[in-house]
């Protein structure tokens, strides 16, 4: 019997090694897999490359991972926010490397990797600082920039419900990067509010098919409170 449900957060993240590239879902705190991140902090892996839209909010979740000095590089679109003081401090001290990517390029570079594409030509960023040094091409009279896929060893995402085959559905705008990151990582770990029996998810509304998910772990009641 195939059962992707893992009993604990710590077991779910146990094999994330030093130097791994880890995608973390969420837009701000909506969809951020806070319990998986806490487990990763406790597990101790360091020199991580993190892919997320932001660079942490407040002192919890991704910000706590940064504060614990486990992250050598972050690939994101919008690090600077009113409550991004942890990142801001590390960046100003030169303690963290930043690869700034326009949000849509972040999304399509993640999608490209999950879809097995070698690279993509995107119009976003053409003629700007963020395209400097990159190959460009005019296609049908429009200018594009060559961007490379972003691959990851692990993706940590948050979903609303999942079953033992790894099928997932999300809740509201917490969906954001979950479905595309799930496809782009060698091992995707989803924390879910509820694990439901096979068949409980209407096959017509499954958002992430189980083939993209390797591990499922049930989030405790703390999840909503932490969000």
């Amino acid at each position: 019997m195939i059962d992707k449900v893992v009993e604990s957060m710590s077991a779910a993240v146990a094999d994330i090694r030093d130097g791994a590239t880890v995608m973390i879902g969420g837009f701000g705190t909506a969809g951020m897999p806070s319990e998986l991140i806490d487990a990763l902090i406790a597990q101790g892996a360091k020199n991580l490359t993190i892919v997320n839209n932001n660079a942490g909010n407040g002192d919890t979740g991704l910000a706590a991972l940064l504060k614990a000095r486990r992250v050598k590089k972050i690939i994101c679109s919008f690090p600077r926010q009113a409550d991004s003081w942890v990142f801001d401090g590390l960046y100003k001290e030169g303690q963290i490397e930043l690869e700034l990517v326009p949000q849509g390029n972040l999304a399509c570079r993640i999608e490209a990797s999950g879809a097995g594409l070698g690279a993509i030509f995107t119009p976003t960023g053409y003629g700007t600082l963020l395209a400097q040094g990159k190959e460009t091409r005019a296609i049908d009279g429009k200018n594009y920039v060559l961007e490379m896929p972003i691959r990851a060893d692990f993706a940590l995402i948050s979903a609303d419900r999942g079953d033992r085959w790894g099928n997932l559905v999300y809740r509201m705008t917490a969906r954001n990067f979950g479905p595309i990151m799930a496809r782009a990582a060698a091992c995707t770990i989803a924390q879910v509010r509820e694990v439901v029996p096979l068949g409980a998810l209407d096959p017509e509304i499954v958002v992430t098919p189980g083939i993209f998910v390797q591990r499922i772990v049930r989030a405790g009641a703390a999840r909503r409170a932490a969000a």
Binding site: F27, G28, T29, A30, G31, N53, S77, F78, P79, R80, Q81, F87, D88, Y91, K92, L98, L100, V101, P102, Q103, G104, N105, L106, A107, C108, I110, E111, T122, P123, T124, G125, Y126, G127, T128, L129, L130, N143, Y170, R171, M172, T173, A174, R175, N176, F177, G178, P179, I180, V207, R224, A227
Partner: protein, 214 residues
């Protein structure tokens, strides 16, 4: 002269958004346009974090941390609205499916280059978000901004000195002093604040202006 205040400017932009339009309102002042959309027009507001049919802010106590806009503020979903992931959301933007986006700006150039994400200051922490995708993707790009900076420098310039968001992307500029179209022949003034002369407007603008024939 009657400079438009923020609300009047937002209302002026809202007037140009037609029934049925798919629209993204950028973070900051453009968000205010939502408050002025004419009642009775069905307009689809898109938020790049993954919703179409965005409604107003919820009542106090009704906020849901999973239902936010691109500025990470709590919002609501209108009946008929829907959620989607970032791949779909940016396909809507980059793929030319949005009719209009409204953005703020540091500078707009005579040929419609937009600078709105970075001052270029060496100690600034850069952040770009979805600005570049909106600027190149929407069918029409509206900019709303003050006509001049707080120190009186023109924000409409011959060439942007701040780092660009996108090249030749702006279609129309709404300021507290004028409405200006970016055309293949340059900038054309279509409206001016009451009591403002064309010569005064020229003095506060860093690029040549033409008057629309009307």
């Amino acid at each position: 002269m009657n400079r438009l205040n923020r609300d009047q400017l937002a209302a002026r932009v809202a007037k140009d958004i037609p029934e049925g339009a798919y629209v993204n309102l950028g973070i900051g002042a453009p968000t205010m346009v939502a408050n002025h959309l004419p009642k009775g027009r069905e307009i689809f507001l898109h938020s790049e974090n993954g919703l179409l049919g965005m409604g107003p802010a919820p009542a106090k106590g009704e906020e849901d941390p999973d239902l936010i806009n691109a500025g990470k503020q709590p919002v609501t979903l209108l009946t008929g609205g829907c959620y989607f992931h970032h791949g779909d959301s940016f396909a809507m933007m980059r793929g030319g499916h949005l009719d209009i986006c409204v953005l703020g700006a540091f500078q707009v150039s005579a040929r419609g280059d937009l600078a709105n994400w970075h001052t270029g200051a060496p100690d600034a922490i850069p952040a770009v978000g979805g600005a570049m995708d909106l600027a190149i993707g929407a069918k029409r790009v509206f900019v709303m901004m003050d006509h001049v900076t707080k120190s009186g420098e023109p924000k409409i310039v011959a060439h942007c000195t701040y780092p660009l968001t996108a090249v030749q992307c702006v279609d129309r500029i709404y300021t507290d002093l004028a409405v200006i179209d970016v055309t293949t022949h340059g900038l054309t003034v279509v409206e001016m604040a009451e009591g403002l002369s064309f010569e005064e407007l020229l003095r506060m603008t860093g690029a040549p202006l033409a008057r629309a024939l009307s």
